[in-house]
């Protein structure tokens, strides 16, 4: 058994080395890239966290949600409420309070949604997210309506890092990048463990063959519910991180097109592998930003990209690269 443990550790060593190299590369970005690129990549990492969470449901459990804007939006609004109504300006406080709230909301919505599958599941997730969106619009004395709520820059590391005075914006962008990068790294590790755990294997089994999974004694609905809860909480965490960077929480982040963007993100990177959503989150952020800057018909441009993606790269960027690598390896062997 000790030999088995050594083999298992050794087999994961190249993966760990690659992950550390990528992390170190990302840590160098603020030193070599400008402030704008650093800010953009921060948005990309946040989108990657949301996509990681979303993909636990789509890629690993086989459930397509059209309502993940609900958890992202709730995360953003929790930060806004805590700052506006309670005068809390600590990022750690936002996370410590926000995570349980998004987890409870995810558990509640998930309990309702996982009773169904396929289109019924998708419609339920969409409908519930739109309930929150309409509440955010109508309860304007609480949410600020379409104007939204402004979010000041929070302190980091329990008040050790603050942002006032000259150059505070620059310091915030750089510090916040590293903060988000650290949370992103933790999220990647946590999600990697989840999908490779017995629980994660059970989710994949349910995705592949629900009937057989049931006849192994798996309680399907329970597994789907827990996957929904984790997925929503990850997306909520992304919302919590996004709000201070954006500086404003508006009902747009609860609206269904935002859910569509999360779906797009995961399709872009590829949903049948672990790294696809991470890459998708970053690539989509850049794609959307440059599309918006380039043309007023940016939605049309993104629509064309989506159609091309489904037709030409149905397995996403990472899926296509993996297939290419397999083909090249096979050609080398022959």
């Amino acid at each position: 058994m000790q030999a088995d443990a050594a083999v298992a550790r050794r087999s994961k060593l190249p993966l760990a080395v690659a992950a550390i190299m990528i992390l170190l590369g990302l840590a160098l970005v603020p030193l070599v890239a400008g402030l704008y690129q650093t800010q953009l990549l921060t948005y990309g990492l946040i989108a990657a966290i949301a996509a990681l969470g979303f993909n636990l449901l789509l890629g690993y459990t086989g459930l397509l949600s059209f309502g993940h804007s609900a958890y992202f939006g709730i995360g953003a609004y929790i930060v806004a409420f805590l700052a506006d109504d309670f005068g809390i300006h600590s990022m750690e406080a936002y996370i410590l309070i926000g995570l349980p709230v998004t987890a409870i909301l995810s558990a509640l919505f998930g309990y309702i949604c996982v009773r169904h599958t396929r289109i019924f599941f998708g419609i339920l997730t969409l409908a519930l997210s739109q309930v929150l969106w309409s509440l955010a619009l109508k309860l304007f004395w609480v949410t600020g309506g379409t104007d939204g709520l402004r979010i000041p820059r929070p302190t980091l590391l329990a008040g050790l890092v603050t942002f006032t005075g000259a150059g505070s914006f620059q310091r915030f962008i750089t510090s916040y990048y590293y903060y988000v990068l650290a949370v992103f790294a933790i999220c990647v590790v946590v999600m990697w463990v989840i999908v490779h755990s017995p629980f994660g294997k059970a989710l994949q089994a349910i995705r592949d063959n629900e009937t057989r999974a049931r006849f192994l004694g798996l309680r399907i609905r329970w597994f789907r519910w827990i996957a929904f809860l984790i997925s929503g909480t990850f997306t909520g965490l992304a919302g919590l991180l996004w709000a201070p960077l954006n500086g404003l929480a508006t009902p747009d982040v609860l609206y269904w097109p935002f859910s569509g963007e999360i779906v797009f993100t995961v399709l872009l990177g590829g949903f049948r592998n672990f790294t696809g959503p991470i890459l998708g989150g970053i690539v989509f952020t850049y794609l959307k930003t440059y599309a918006v800057a380039t043309t007023e018909y940016w939605q049309l441009l993104l629509g064309v990209v989506l159609v091309l993606l489904i037709v030409v790269l149905p397995t996403g960027i990472v899926g296509a690269l993996s297939s290419l690598a397999v083909k090249l390896k096979a050609r080398q062997k022959s």
């Binding site: 088995d4 017995p198 629980f199 294997k201 059970a202 063959n209 192994l216």
Partner: protein
């Protein structure tokens, strides 16, 4: 010793009586074959016992405990497992993971979320042992979706067997495979069943296979039992021959 019995078990689909008041008995340790033409009610009987379907009336007793209204999960925990007529695997998982998942489920470890599955070396070792019994150890790391049909059939049985059931139902384990693979599958299944403490009920159409491997054969026709006995008794039963050849029954 009786392991499972049904009492006046009934299931009707529209006007068709798929199970017409069946009193079915399975004895501990036997290799029983359930035979009959298509539509005889064999799969319905297995579906009722495994909780894939609910009976209209009647009772199912497992080790003298009434399990008629037990959930699928509780029946599996009681010791009843099954495979399916059409191969049912987790194609996106490796061959090893297919079997390991059965063991995780049996040992109630599937809720473990903070430990890597391949770091549970007890489960991994047991899964590899099971794969070895079924001649699939060399394919452990291959995706189940990439196996040949005969190997898929074997893995299908291995996944059910890894639950370590007391009673294992196999629904046409040799359908859709070559004659050579049939013998390989049945040799493996019967040796595994006889080596362990498993009682097997096999639905099978190939009578050569049935006569060769069974301790007891039960023949069904139109939702009822037509014959029940040893292979020699069944071979000599005139109605069995009539059914198999499509001739009219004597009664």
């Amino acid at each position: 010793m009786i392991l499972l019995r049904t009492v006046n078990l009934r299931k009707q689909f529209g006007d068709t009586r798929a199970c017409d008041g069946l009193d079915f008995v399975v004895n501990s340790g036997e290799f029983l074959s359930l035979v009959g033409s298509n539509g005889a009610g064999k799969t319905t009987l297995v579906n009722l016992i495994s909780a894939h379907l609910q009976p209209d009336s009647g009772q199912i007793l497992f080790e003298e405990r009434d399990i008629t209204f037990m959930s699928v999960t509780d029946r599996i925990r009681a010791g009843i497992a099954r495979s399916f007529q059409i191969v049912n695997l987790f194609d996106g998982l490796s061959v090893l993971d297919n079997v390991a998942l059965s063991i995780f489920s049996r040992d109630r470890k599937t809720a473990k979320i903070a430990k890597l599955a391949d770091h549970d070396f007890d489960v991994r070792d047991e899964a590899l042992t099971v794969l070895g019994q079924f001649g699939l150890r060399g394919k452990a790391e291959v995706l189940a979706g990439g196996l040949a049909q005969g190997e898929r059939k074997l893995l299908d049985v291995a996944v059910a067997y890894a639950l370590r059931p007391k009673l294992l139902f196999l629904d046409e384990p040799t359908s859709g495979v070559s004659t050579h693979e049939k013998a390989q599958i049945m040799d493996t299944v019967s040796s595994v069943v006889r080596a362990g403490t498993v009682t097997a009920v096999v639905i099978e159409h190939d009578m050569d296979v049935v006569f060769r491997y069974s301790d007891r054969i039960v023949m069904m026709h139109e939702g009822a039992f037509l014959a029940d006995g040893t292979p020699d008794q069944i071979r000599a039963h005139k109605d069995v021959a009539a059914i198999l050849l499509g001739a009219p029954l004597s009664v």
